[in-house]
């Protein structure tokens, strides 16, 4: 009755061996490496720089341990931390500004392990050090912006169709346009309807069309007013687009930071999570990420009376008064000519004639067209470049338009120095945000803290494990040892599983490993006590083993399911480190059931199953009550 079939042994042995292999990479540790990525996020790297990396390092006597070419970039594994820092600088100098060189760590495990996909566990930020930010997007701004965009295109269409109107503004969530007569208003409605059927977006599993409009008509003394309210899906669409653009912008900005494995993800409808492993300079990271810089180009008001009035505190309608970097007030028109979204590239440089620092900007097609038109119509006037950063609006520069500028290439003069030009170029290149964001959660862990957390977690686990092992062996003797073996196998299974699925291991996650060990032993205790019980009841040893395991199974299932429910709740409602705890808890329950039922049974059957006659089981002393 206590036979384990060959296929079961086969499954047990195979699973243990596989787990051992997949656990291995965790013991090799990690080696310093540098990672070379293209500055444009997502762009593939030019393989020709491989050669220059190799020769550069060779010339400086830095030996390359391994060179990996991957989609995201080139990884160079090195031998020491000093080499890593030296290599970073050397490579950066050699390959120029189109690439970023970041510090990274690569698993030290042998090639054959890496080739079969055996990787060490993925450590969370609390264990490896780094920064975690949760950013909240300002969706009301995104909505307004969507309506502004609509307003712009409607104006353009109305002009094209030669429909006269005399006022058009955004009012709350809608557009208001005033017409001279009824007929114009009717034509305008047709213009709206003809403006394409909109995009299709998915809202709660249903596909909805954007850009259908609600028209409300009112008449005033001298105007026929049309109020246009886009439907809810249009608003939703502009929010989706805003998140998308902010994600893209963040990707670009973070790329400039040179972080090896950043995580930039949407969370919920209006939040973005940013995780930067290994980043120590939080101030710099915050500055670049949290920067809510937006760029706008607007015309400067040249009318002196308007300017004087504004200075006197009486800003004319349709204008804004901003200061330039030297504190001089500049009166600009409200209408935005161009925004930073139209910028493809921006680079610092020097003016060939004056020798002063400049930033040259390349605009996209639409931007170039608009800019050409605007500059043609406004020769001799000034155009202001306005930077809105951290709620402070500043006119960076307001050069005079000397002639029509076509081709989308714009030079901005008026930089203080080369550093200033570089900073502004970076800001412009990294793109602008569709809507401002704010950091609403920050979790930073210094590198020393991360290492300490690992050793705290590991020490808790190891000492807990040793204590359990001792207790079990003393209390249950032979069966105790089998329990210990199955507990060790459980640990290996758990670590292997975590390594295979690359779940993020956090400090609470390590605590969960320790805790599941403590709980997993419950299965063995339950089984051993059952067997003792059966012997106490006068059953033969063989029968006791069999009944013990069978009866324990039902109890185990029920008791583990309830812990599983708790684990699932933590997974669903928890975030960050707590999710890590939940993952380990749930996996630990699964592996402990497998190891305590299958593995320990397999071993017990191997020891006792074939014996015809057993005098006594090695399960410790059993106290017997005389049945009265």
């Amino acid at each position: 009755m206590n036979q384990t079939s060959h296929w079961k042994y086969f499954v047990i042995i195979t699973s243990v061996l596989l787990s051992l292999i997949y656990t291995l990479p965790n013991f090799y540790g990690e080696a310093p490496a540098v990672q070379v990525m293209s500055i444009e996020s997502g762009e593939k790297i030019d393989i020709s720089i491989l050669k220059s990396i190799e020769t550069t390092l060779k010339d400086s006597n830095i030996s390359i341990d391994k060179l990996l070419v991957e989609d995201i970039g080139i990884k160079v594994k090195l031998e020491s931390l000093e080499d890593q820092l030296k290599a970073k600088k050397l490579i950066q100098d050699a390959i120029g500004d189109n690439y970023v060189v970041a510090l990274n760590l690569l698993p030290n495990s042998p090639n054959w392990l890496t080739n079969i996909g055996a990787l060490p566990m993925h450590l969370g930020l609390d264990l490896r050090g780094g920064v975690h930010f949760l950013m909240q997007l300002d969706m009301s701004k995104a909505k307004d912006k969507g309506i502004d965009n609509l307003l712009f295109s409607v104006r353009k269409e109305l002009q094209k169709e030669k429909v006269p109107y005399f006022d058009s503004t955004r009012i709350d969530g809608s557009i208001q346009i005033k017409f001279k007569n009824e007929l114009d208003r009717e034509t305008a409605k047709d213009v709206f309807k003809s403006m394409g059927s909109g995009r299709e977006i998915k809202v709660k599993w249903a596909t909805k069309k954007t850009q259908s409009y609600n028209f409300v008509e009112t008449n005033s003394a001298n105007a026929f007013i049309l109020n246009v309210k886009p439907n809810a899906y249009t608003n939703e669409d502009s929010q989706i687009l805003a998140v998308k653009q902010n994600l893209e912008t963040l990707n670009n900005r973070i790329n400039e930071l040179g972080v090896a494995e950043p995580v930039i993800q949407q969370q919920g409808a209006d939040r973005i999570v940013v995780q930067l492993p290994g980043v120590q300079d939080t101030a710099k990271a915050k500055e670049i990420i949290g920067r809510t810089a937006m760029l706008e180009m607007r015309m400067v008001e040249e009318n002196q009376t308007a300017y004087d009035a504004a200075i006197a505190g009486n800003i004319p309608p349709g204008h804004d008064l901003f200061n330039d970097r030297f504190g001089n007030p500049v009166l600009v028109k409200k209408q935005v000519v161009l925004t930073g979204e139209r910028i493809i590239d921006a680079a610092p440089g020097t003016d060939s004639i004056t020798g002063k620092s400049i930033v040259s900007i390349t605009l996209d097609g639409q931007g170039a067209n608009t800019f050409k038109q605007v500059t043609r119509e406004n020769v001799g006037k000034r155009i202001a470049l306005i930077l809105i950063e951290k709620k402070i609006t500043e006119v960076v520069t307001a050069p005079v338009i000397k002639s029509e500028i076509g081709g989308g290439r714009v030079q901005i003069t008026g930089m203080d120095n080369a550093q200033n030009a570089t900073d502004i170029a970076l800001l412009l290149r990294a793109g602008s945000l569709a809507t401002p964001m704010e950091i609403v959660e920050e979790r930073t862990v210094g590198p020393s803290m991360g290492k300490e957390n690992i050793s705290r977690g590991v020490r808790s686990t190891i000492w807990g494990f040793i204590a359990i092992v001792t207790m079990m062996a003393i209390y249950y003797m032979g069966f105790g040892l089998v329990s210990v073996i199955s507990l060790s196998v459980n640990l290996i299974f758990l670590v292997a599983l975590l390594s295979i699925i690359q779940a993020t291991l956090t400090l609470p996650g390590i605590a969960a490993i320790a805790l599941t060990l403590g709980m997993a032993i419950d299965a063995n205790v339950l089984i051993n006590e059952r067997i003792r019980d059966e012997i106490r009841n006068g059953n033969t040893p063989q029968a006791s083993i069999s009944i013990g395991y069978e009866k324990a199974w039902g109890t185990l299932l029920d008791s583990n399911m309830t812990t599983m429910i708790a684990g699932l709740a933590l997974f669903i409602f928890g975030s960050g480190p707590i999710k890590g705890f939940a993952v380990v808890l749930v996996l630990g329950i699964l592996t402990s059931m497998y190891s305590s039922i299958w593995v320990s049974r397999g071993i017990i059957n191997y020891i006792y199953g074939n014996r015809r006659h057993i005098d006594k089981l090695s399960i410790g002393e059993i106290f017997k009550v005389d049945n009265n």
Binding site: V440, G464, L507, I565, A569, F581
Partner: protein, 307 residues
């Protein structure tokens, strides 16, 4: 080795009235602490900033307080923990001040004063995120309770399910009572521990109830009273109860010793949960199931399909 050398079943049920009084007293005490003192909620739930900074050569806490005062943050708390070199700074939420700027301001001021200062960790949570985490925590507890009740009602019977959840909520309230009385900080990791305790100590009730169910269908116990059946079930699972909790508690003690600041309150919550878990599953869960009227009849159909 065999710790429990019991000759006869211990008549636990005889003390059920006593334990009921005891439980009610503890419960009322915990509830009154919670209502008067409340929980010392961590920044995870209230919003705010915690900064742990390290000074390799040690530092005077008063100096740090003075520095913070100089940048108008006199409402911050500064404390040493464990040793001279590590300092914990707590800052409340400031209206109109971005949380990201606040921690940067503090570290800049501290670094200006003593350049050897190292940032060990920063946790900043905005008010809204704090509210959400609080809400999600409450939802998680609700979800776990409902899930466990449903599962046990399905596998056993509603009386057992109610008894088990009452026993466990009893534990949770006691953990919260301890945290309230001692004003230990209650944060996300402690919440995780509470939920783990909820799941874990139901195990205990399940194991006992399983025995009760088994006893009900035993021919030899057909004529026994419900209380006798329960006494027998508890006595015979006693050894397992102690061994299991001992081993889990060993691991938790190991966490208390080696786990450091972050796992400390987590391990404390687990310790209370485990210790009271033993008591409640025996002295709360079983009497409860008995008073709710558990009998052979209730479980008859459940035992049939098990065979």
């Amino acid at each position: 080795m065999e710790i429990f050398r019991v000759k006869k079943d211990i008549s636990f049920m005889k003390y059920s009235r006593l334990s009921a009084v005891l439980s009610i007293v503890i419960f009322v005490l915990s509830a009154s602490f919670l209502s008067t003192k409340g929980l010392n909620l961590g920044i995870d739930f209230t919003g705010g900033t915690i900064m742990e900074v390290g000074y390799p050569e040690g530092v005077n806490v008063q100096d740090i307080r003075d520095t913070l005062k100089s940048i108008n943050l006199e409402d911050s708390q500064v404390q040493n923990f464990g040793n001279e070199t590590d300092v914990l700074i707590r800052l409340p939420i400031k209206e109109g001040q971005a949380i990201a700027d606040l921690s940067e301001k503090v570290s800049a001021a501290l670094r200006a004063k003593n350049s050897s200062m190292q940032i060990r960790r920063i946790e900043s949570v905005g008010a809204q995120v704090g509210d959400e985490l609080y809400e999600n925590g409450a939802l998680a507890i609700l979800f776990v309770c409902l899930g466990i009740v449903l599962y046990l009602a399905m596998r056993f019977e509603w009386r057992f399910a109610i008894a088990a959840i009452v026993a466990n909520m009893h534990d949770v309230v006691i953990i919260l009572g301890f945290f309230s009385f001692f004003q230990w900080e209650f944060n996300l990791t402690v919440l995780a521990a509470v939920l783990a305790v909820l799941g874990y100590s139901v195990n205990e009730s399940v194991v006992v109830f399983d025995r009760v169910r088994e006893n009900f269908r035993k021919a030899s116990m057909r004529n026994s009273k419900v209380s006798e059946i329960m006494n027998n079930a508890i006595t015979r699972t006693m050894s397992r109860t102690i061994m299991t909790h001992l081993s889990t508690q060993t691991v938790v003690v190991s966490m208390l010793i080696f786990g450091g600041e972050i796992l400390h309150n987590f391990a404390l919550a687990l310790t209370i949960g485990i210790l009271f878990g033993i008591y409640s599953s025996i002295m709360v869960g079983c009497p409860m199931a008995m008073w709710l009227g558990t009998s052979q009849k209730n479980l008859a159909w459940k035992t049939e399909d098990k065979k």
